[in-house]
Amino acid sequence: DVKVTQSSRYLVKRTGEKVFLECVQDMDHENMFWYRQDPGLGLRLIYFSYDVKMKEKGDIPEGYSVSREKKERFSLILESASTNQTSMYLCASSPQDRKNQPQHFGDGTRLSIL
């Protein structure tokens, strides 16, 4: 079974801090994704990556950056955290070789910015 592991289930940070959310997958997937989930808005894509050192902006990249130095690891960075970034963050991965492959999700990080 695919395992996507997010480093923290709950995280509390202060406004202005630099925040790192880590995600690791163990199935050698090329694609990795970061979403934020808010009630009534579903999942919104922040950034995704098709390969090591490659990154593409999603629908809501403002205030975020990402890093993919190794295939299995995809990090989301909040450069200067703000209260409107309080949310549930979900990481996902999928293989690139076939179409319509499911995305495999981690269990999420609930981030609170005070």
Binding site: G42, L45, Y50, L90, K99, Q101
Partner: protein, 112 residues
């Protein structure tokens, strides 16, 4: 603006009742997936539909992809408490690789 709108946003029903969840868009999708998410966990794939008009069944769950590939529905027969969760549709648009656009979600509660 969300690309995919789901309705209803919240649904609370008695065990044994039937229900339908809708996923609508003005965009055409190459395929559409349905996920279920339980509290404290990430979404898990239920089904993928790829052909306009396609119907797929998963035990008591029936999924349909619209003829024009712009909408989908999920019908649950004789709901059980184990069906409780957040249901999300996600559509893929041609030539966007493996990027899926997620719907707004339907939170289902089945009361015993």
């Amino acid at each position: 603006t969300q690309l995919l709108e789901q309705s209803p946003q919240f649904l609370s029903i008695q065990e044994g009742e039937n229900l339908t969840v809708y996923c609508n868009s003005s965009s055409v999708f190459s395929s559409l997936q349905w996920y279920r998410q339980e509290p404290g966990e990430g979404p898990v794939l239920l089904v993928t539909v790829v052909t306009g008009g396609e119907v797929k069944k998963l035990k008591r769950l029936t999924f349909q992809f619209g003829d024009a590939r712009k909408d989908s529905s999920l019908h649950i027969t004789a709901a059980q408490t184990g069906d409780t969760g957040l249901y999300l549709c996600a559509g893929a648009i041609w030539n966007t690789g493996n990027q899926f656009y997620f719907g707004t979600g339907t939170s289902l509660t089945v009361i015993p």
